[in-house]
Subunit: 156 residues, 2 copies
Amino acid sequence: MDVSYVNPFVVSTIETLQKMLNIEGKAGKLSLKDSSLHSYDVTGVIGLTGEAAGSICLSFPQEVAFKAVTALLGMPVTMMGDEVTDGIGELVNIVAGNAKQYLTKYNLSISLPKVVVGRNHSVASMSGVPTIVVPIVSSLGEFAMEISLKTPEVKK
Amino acid sequence: MDVSYVNPFVVSTIETLQKMLNIEGKAGKLSLKDSSLHSYDVTGVIGLTGEAAGSICLSFPQEVAFKAVTALLGMPVTMMGDEVTDGIGELVNIVAGNAKQYLTKYNLSISLPKVVVGRNHSVASMSGVPTIVVPIVSSLGEFAMEISLKTPEVKK
């Protein structure tokens, strides 16, 4: 399995934290996702198309999402609402947009973000499409960057 | 607002019900989504890119998702698991794939589906990106097709 595409998304996530939130983040240990093990409260998801196809998600516990949007907007956000969904959507959009610059070989296009809100939801990929989970550790708390990409190398 | 792109997705959803599930479905009254009003248990989402960008969702109450996957697989499915997420992902993939044939002017590409599972989750678009909700009424029960598409006509 070629997972060279993962690092650009990790780098882009760390850079986005720095530039947009003024927060230092670190990537934890990557793992191949077992869908039954991960649940979140707020998830920004964006589709990827091109020579490879898939999606990335930024998935947060509610309190970490509030802190991220508070840092993004520079004003306290403590309730679910448009500020949170717009803020998390903007973050996943920037992460995907930056990452595709490092992945020109796949000629990626990105869809518009959607933001899922719901206590303890999970997000599955189709069977056979591997999802890599990267925990991102920061002063906001921990959240997850998940990347699923079907590259030409693994297409049947 | 140009919403001529909505009908191909409605037609494709009805056709997919017929062809894949052998179920007759009808579209209810379209509405512009107010994100606070809609929550679901299982949602298949797929990104769209091209001359327009956005996403479509098929969103189900849990029991309707089970019935849809039961009809798709021809075997009873009564618990959440890979059958359900793979089945709902396959349906949204087919709906998007069929619809794009009717929308050649946008030269759409579709990402891989993701499937959200979680009681009473909601799915928001960014502010400023209208989402059209189409209730689909069938013998399975009612579910929703939601389409968000930013077309060149409405791009700033």
